[in-house]
Symmetry: C2
Subunit: 240 residues, 2 copies
DNA sequence: CAGTGGTCTAGACCACTGA
DNA sequence: CAGTGGTCTAGACCACTGA
């Protein structure tokens, strides 16, 4: 017995999901309150348990419900809201705006890692680390100063890349395709060198992103991205 | 025929998922390259197609693979990376650090919406809008200046809430539990009033978050959250 | 013990693609 | 037409919870 499923109709799991989502949006189940069980939804929608399960699992992935085995499904407390922030490669972001991107390589060399850096990169003190300092321009205006350290183990040919043609981010994505990162976003003043490179005053506010990237527990790269506050903004969306 | 699944063993869909994820991490399939089909994985892992499907669907949700019906599954191009940024309610964030939070209500009143605000809030010009200005303190130090407009239709009793006991964010989450938001994060100077309220200099860099929140296409609230750059930071993680 | 969620199977029909 | 993904069903075993 199989229901026909013309393209015009919604998939059953979508109907269940939308029903629950709409109820949550209307406050039908208060945060923490128990929601219908899988078997109740199976009866109500006349679908199989797999279908109901998928609907609820997706709501769980979106953070809208909490499930406890043996107990039930509950409307989530939305005191925290997770947001999806898509960080695009700067080159792509600029060209997507129809503007031209170019990069100036200020520095690209191997250095001996000082203690603080060594510990963050998982290297021994004095071991070789690659260091690049690149300024990115949008239509000739400096938009980002990228100060980056790279673990030679992960990208041995890093210094031979032409960073006027490929961004370090893109290069590293190709070398080490799957990674995790922690980052922090803060506002602060640029260093004297950064101010000069970005053509701003040392007292101008900058948006500073510090990012540490790890591939299967091996530190790949540590980057400090400094943007003139007046020219750069991060946009995002919440979609709980 | 059902396999026993002791707690010690991984779930089959996890084994398939981990296999594919590990391969992607090792560059076994280059970005854009076709990956094994569902039926190939079914044969290889001796599991059902539902199980393989779940594994791949979750990788797709994580942005690691791209699927095209009738064609196949492909390793994703990771040129953009989506990050999960969990924004917690400020009260919760501060108390989680073991610190004390308190709020000073500078302003809480109804106003007539000027044109620019009216269009953003979906109101007519001159219609009533609620306006609050609240300073949040962590252990007595000002951490955030919250300038917020609220649509009276969504939260008619907003001005009667005691914002020294509940944050506007928490209050609005209860009134309108499911919402979407757009936000922008930027660095810039505070206004003269904000500088005074935050006890900083007008030239000090601030991290400014502007957030517009919508519930089922009805604008709920517009907020400008100003943080002293020296005292506040947003942390996040990429987990592609 | 009854009820809950966690997961799996074997088979099915379908839409879509490209040869 | 063969191969791909998209989705569903009816039933199953399991772990867990709380009465």
């Amino acid at each position: 017995m199989v229901s026909t499923n013309p393209t015009t109709a919604q998939a059953p799991y979508t109907r269940v999901k939308d029903f629950l989502k709409a109820g949550l949006g209307q406050g039908r189940w208060a945060p923490g309150e128990q929601m219908p069980s899988e078997s109740e939804l199976v009866a109500q929608f006349a679908v199989s348990r797999m279908t109901v399960g998928r609907a609820i699992r997706e709501l769980q992935a979106e953070g809208l419900v909490t499930r406890v085995q043996g107990v039930g499904t509950f409307a989530a407390h939305l005191s925290r809201v997770s947001s999806t922030l898509t960080i695009r490669d700067l080159h792509e972001e600029i060209t997507a705006r129809g503007h031209t991107h170019c990069a100036q390589v200020v520095l690209a060399r191997a250095e001996a890692a000082p203690p603080a850096l060594a510990s963050q990169m998982g290297l021994r003190v004095g071991e070789t680390v690659f260091h690049t300092l690149i300024v990115h321009f949008e239509n000739g205006v400096p938009l980002q100063c990228e100060d980056r350290y790279v673990n030679p183990v992960c990208a041995p040919a890093y210094l031979h890349a032409d960073f006027t043609r490929i961004t370090p981010t893109q290069y590293l994505l190709e070398v080490a395709p799957l990674w995790e990162a922690q980052y922090s976003i803060e506002a602060g003043p640029p260093t004297a060198q950064e101010a000069k490179l970005l053509d701003i005053d040392v007292h101008d506010a900058c948006l500073i992103v510090v990012r540490r990237t790890v591939n299967r527990d091996v530190p790949i790269t540590l980057a400090r991205l400094v943007h003139p506050g007046a020219r750069y903004r991060i946009d995002g969306q919440f979609k709980p």
